[in-house]
């Protein structure tokens, strides 16, 4: 065949001696549209990557001074002077007159006390600037169980926040994952077409639901409802918060799981049914295991959502930083702490740095989560399932 074609074409060329009919491929042409499109896309892509990197950089940079315990006080007199003139919470006069043993609203008051008077014996004298002694003590208090950042003697027990965050994540996942996965399994395998067309968009709509509304619902309705059932004493606690966050995470887990299940080849379904398996046996023992990597990814994304969830945490968890494993006690999460305190904190203060440290921790945890997803799912699970 090819030979014939060649002969034909050469003949055509021979008889048709006008080369203008042929497409010229010898000259390389510059195409402006292509060039511009490529450069613009590249530029925009690089810009977005840069922005992300800068955010990373900013958060870590702001968190970094907390580890700076070796240097001398680095504040210049002008800075200190500036701080002296800063506005106070009105507690200053109180402190001035009554002495220093009392807890105040924090930083500025302390500074004034220290500046104007010689501190009384036995008081915690370190002020809330970014002095190095302060950082040292902040670091020392991080493993304690108290989170009292605004006090004469501030304690930054991040551990209780971390435990609180993990506790609430666990609760929400225990609640959300089975529900979402079963719902997805139903939608993908059992629901008829019409049902599917209703369920899927509805749940996906819920993914865009403002978390403040879910938080509000949890605060006003869910908390009372659950308390009436379980009769625990603290109305707002990690259980309520976990359920509320689970509600926020369900749509995400559902959507991705449903996609993963639908992506399982139909031939698996046929093969299983042809072996005399019932529909639910097929769904549970063939389709579900085959979709494991996708489901795993879905759960990790759900965890990511809960991890960073701030509004619901602020509204429905009680916000008390207790180091306790009891699900019916209040908790405070990392994200909620930043959300609640960042607006109130003195710029450049130890507390400020600690909040950024918390932000960095959130970054790091999310990063680890993604790394697990990447390596475990792509590496191990895929290998096991695809046999490569």
């Amino acid at each position: 065949m090819t030979k014939k074609n060649k002969v034909k074409s050469s003949k055509a060329q021979g008889s048709d001696s006008q080369p203008s009919d042929l497409i010229d491929i010898t000259r390389k042409r510059f195409r402006v549209g292509d060039f511009l499109a490529e450069k613009i896309i590249k530029g925009v892509a690089l810009l977005s990557i840069t922005i992300i990197v800068l955010i990373f950089f900013f958060v870590f940079r702001e968190a970094f001074p907390i580890f700076n315990t070796s240097k001398e006080v680095k504040k210049s007199p002008t800075e200190l002077a500036k701080q002296d003139t800063q506005e106070t919470y009105g507690a200053v006069t109180d402190v001035d007159s009554k002495g220093t043993g009392q807890e105040t609203y924090g930083a500025v008051a302390d500074t004034l006390v220290k500046k104007d008077k010689t501190p009384a014996k036995g008081t915690y004298t370190v002020n809330a600037g970014s002095g190095t002694d302060d950082n040292k003590s902040a670091l020392n208090t991080m493993l304690t169980k108290d989170w009292v950042p605004v006090s004469d003697k501030p304690r930054y027990g991040i551990l209780s926040l971390i435990i609180g965050t993990f506790k609430i994540t666990l609760i929400s996942m225990l609640f959300a994952a089975p529900l979402a996965i079963l719902a997805a399994l139903y939608t993908a395998e059992f629901a008829n077409k019409k049902m599917k067309e209703i369920i899927k968009p509805t749940i996906e709509l819920l993914a865009g639901f403002p978390s403040v509304v879910i938080g509000f619902f949890a605060l006003m309705v869910l908390a009372t409802f659950l308390q009436n059932i379980f009769h625990y004493s603290t109305r707002l606690n990690s259980f309520v918060g976990g359920i509320a966050m689970g509600i926020a995470a369900i749509p995400i887990i559902f959507t991705i799981t449903e996609d993963a299940l639908t992506a399982v080849p139909r031939s698996f379904n046929e093969a299983s049914l042809a072996l005399g398996a019932s529909k639910w046996q097929t769904a549970f023992f063939v389709i579900l295991p085959a979709a494991t990597p996708g489901i795993f990814a879905a759960i990790l994304l759900g965890i990511g959502r809960v991890f960073g969830e701030t509004m619901i945490a602020l509204m429905a968890t009680g916000n008390a930083a207790l180091m306790d494993l009891n699900p019916f006690e209040s908790v405070r999460t990392l994200a909620a702490t930043i959300g609640a305190e960042m607006a109130e904190v003195v710029f450049g203060d130890t507390h400020y740095n600690v909040l950024f440290l918390i932000g960095s921790l959130l970054f790091v945890f999310t990063f680890i989560l993604n790394a697990i997803a990447e390596f475990y799912v792509k590496g191990k699970l895929m290998k096991r399932i695809q046999g490569k």
Binding site: E270, A274, G276
Partner: protein
């Protein structure tokens, strides 16, 4: 005497409104290999799939007439489809092992039938793999994923998986069409061996294959059963013009 394992009477199949199978009446003998041949879209696969009601999975399929297996109409209202499919196993055109280990692929069928004894399962797996002539190739790596096997091995694994639930009838939908000649000949040998215990119905595009392995051959064209006879007769002395044209390669 050879019994008729399957027979259909005046069977019609519709996809929504379209007629896909017209007036099919056929008697398929027990423990023989019966081949269905015909050009693409002639309804032979559709017919095969209606023998274990795999067509139920497709929306809008309607069947009229009788499809009898062991003298029971499988489209009766009170037929248990799950058990029907245990009785009538199926091997598909594209090998479709589950994303599980080789062992788990075979053990899946018996397991869903309630066999949980480990020893018994191991025996079943070994027998099935041996019957499907793949045991020697996989016995050292039963724990590996089945998806790591070659195409021919995967197809034999699928046959083993079907055999593991001990069906009476095995339907094969072009089981060798995606395989190389060597794997194909292995599967053909296997089919000839299997007819000792099973009734086999095979759809094939490959007429030599039908001639080599089948006892009876049915020729389908445009949803109709044109001719059905002993394979030898069909290939040497067909009674219908269309059959002759097809097997001599004049169309199709």
């Amino acid at each position: 005497m050879i019994l008729d394992k399957i027979h259909t009477e005046k069977m019609f199949l519709y996809y929504s409104e379209k007629v896909a199978l017209k007036d099919i009446s056929i008697k398929i003998p027990e423990k023989r290999v019966t081949a269905f041949i015909g050009p693409s879209g002639c309804g032979k696969s559709t017919f095969l799939r209606s023998l274990n009601r795999m067509n139920d999975l497709i929306d809008g399929v309607k069947i009229e007439g009788k499809v009898m297996i062991d003298n029971i109409n499988i489209y009766d209202k009170n037929i248990d489809v799950v058990n029907l499919r245990k009785k009538v196993g199926m091997v598909f055109q594209k090998s479709n092992p589950f994303a599980k280990s080789i062992y788990e692929n075979i053990a899946y069928g018996p397991k869903i039938n309630g066999i949980n004894d480990k020893k018994q399962l191991e025996e079943i797996v070994e027998t099935a793999l041996k019957n499907a002539a793949i045991w020697d190739e996989v016995k050292d790596r039963l724990g590996d994923s089945a998806l790591g096997l070659s195409g021919g091995q995967q197809q034999r694994l699928c046959i083993a998986r079907t055999l593991a639930v001990n069906p009476e009838i095995v339907l094969m939908d072009e089981p060798a069409s995606a395989l190389d000649p060597l794997s194909t000949s292995k599967i053909e040998e296997l089919i000839v061996q299997l007819k000792e215990h099973y009734t086999i119905v095979i759809v094939t595009h490959n007429m030599q294959q039908a001639a080599r392995i089948s006892d009876n051959t049915a020729f389908f064209y445009l949803g109709e059963l044109i001719e059905y006879d002993k394979t030898k007769t069909i290939f040497t002395n067909p009674s219908k013009k269309q059959t002759e044209d097809y097997i001599t390669g004049r169309f199709g």
